[in-house]
Symmetry: C2
């Protein structure tokens, strides 16, 4: 399974970066190959200062070795080796009317002392963070997510949509990071689903990504915007930074286990502002966004 | 003691904000009084878009009530009430040649079930974060810190200087946040020092603040700078954000115990950049800063 999934994310990275370069039209991804001292490595691809994408990364990695202490504690095991691989992407568009998007699909294995697999699971998801809310964009994104889920089980979309709203909750701000999407973890083989079923599901979600996001980019990328719109985008990007550095388990896990810092923090936006106690004008588009972020919406029924 | 110290930080806030307004010459501090639902409140003073200070805050607060769960765990107590008050300041100058400064001086009391004081202590310190390194500035700042310490005990400066270097270590970047200063905590009454001695020491440190920082501001605030200098300042401000949101105990404590978010996060810089894998030019001033931050320096012997 590890070879099968790693093969998949390699191909998916190629597909996604090729399509993103085509839509950007200005710059291409730069590539960094890196190795992890304790085992494994990755292929980081970053885009900066494009026509459409101000900054973004589409990274894959496959790491293995002794389970870091923080994971041993989390899983309640004394020792063991692990393997983990996945694709992570974050795209920060230049135009404030194009939402930021994040996605991650990953596979994890743990081994006993003799190298046998003790447990193995998939995780991942994708979520959308608009700076100006267009309901049709949120509905489109969620519709693609739901359709990709529904093929596998009718319970998946409602469950993973709810988990996504809960996970991407910026608790200290009492607001959602964005309009959500999907979030799932610990998808193991069960009596109902084989590990291959899990693989089929996660890869179907991965395959649906471009369809969920690119039509939104195409609709909004050439809409003209002012400095006021850009300022608001940069202020809201501040909330994105706050979520990633304060709450995001993946980021903190990476920072505390000697991950490759520049690959992890490619998720941080290119330009950000923090103003003291910034409050949007009454009945503005900016205020409307905050109202929606305060109470997660069921975008598709 | 709580009245005595709160009286002191009220006056110190007035003194500091008055002096900073005089040196800025452009804007004045805005003031927000706030109350904490569970008990107490604060007086937040923020400056934005000044001639000298692009953003900054000089805040005091005095809060009390039931000990939050996170502190009960930290102190290993089942229940109890607390009182805490302090002054916190962060100043982000506009000119990249003027360093950012942070300071905090605080007093804490814990009570038993009948309201008697179980334990009480002072904490605090100040540290300097330059974007371009002028050794004379770092030496000046540390000299004032050392002189203020030496009046009380020769051991204080070396000890609290070292603690500061250790505390403001941006571990995931393997570099210091800045050139350090002082950091001390849990200064309780001992056989050697009364609580009044501790008060005298902490207030002497507080009183030395303007002398430690203002001469540096005056020296650098009118030096002309280019977009390249400003970009570097904004990239380095990103490290400041990373430290505060990932490592700073005070910030995380505030975020996780329902503190007043806008008063806590006034510490975040006004404009920030994250570039992927940014590396300064060989033998540049920017590279020189990174070399110094990688290995804390003894600025005064």
């Amino acid at each position: 399974m590890r070879e099968q999934f790693y093969e998949y994310i390699q191909q998916l990275q190629d597909t996604i970066t090729t399509e993103l370069e085509a839509i950007d039209g200005g710059v291409t991804f730069m590539e960094d190959l890196w190795k992890r001292k304790e085992g494994g490595g990755g292929r980081t691809r970053v885009i900066e200062n494009g026509n459409v994408f101000e900054k973004g990364g589409v990274n894959i990695s496959a790491v293995h070795g002794e389970l870091p202490e923080v994971l041993r504690k989390q899983f309640g095991v004394k020792q063991g080796d692990f393997f983990a691989c996945g694709l992570s992407l974050v795209l920060h568009p230049k135009n404030p009317f194009v939402p930021t998007v994040h996605a991650n699909w990953r596979y994890f294995e743990m081994y006993d002392e003799t190298g046998n697999i003790v447990t193995q699971w998939f995780g991942g998801g994708q979520d959308l963070t608009p700076y100006y809310l267009f309901e049709e964009d949120a509905i489109h994104f969620h519709t693609v997510c739901k359709n990709a889920c529904d093929t596998y089980h009718k319970s998946f979309y409602p469950k993973y949509k709810k988990t996504c709203d809960e996970y991407f909750w910026n608790a200290h701000r009492n607001e959602a990071r964005g309009v959500g999407g999907l979030f799932f973890d610990y998808l193991k083989a069960t009596s109902e689903f084989t590990l291959q079923d899990r693989y089929d599901f996660v890869t179907a979600i991965g395959n649906s990504f471009l369809e969920s996001y690119l039509p939104i980019v195409k609709r909004r990328k050439d809409v003209s915007f002012t400095k006021t719109h850009k300022d608001w985008q940069e202020i809201r990007r501040g909330r994105y930074v706050e979520f990633n550095l304060v709450h995001d388990r993946g980021t903190l896990f990476g920072l505390k286990t000697n991950g490759r810092i520049e690959s992890i923090l490619m998720s941080l936006p290119p330009t950000v502002q923090w103003k003291y106690n910034h409050t949007p004008i009454k009945n503005s588009q900016e205020e409307r966004l905050l109202q929606v972020l305060a109470n997660p919406v069921d975008w598709v029924k």
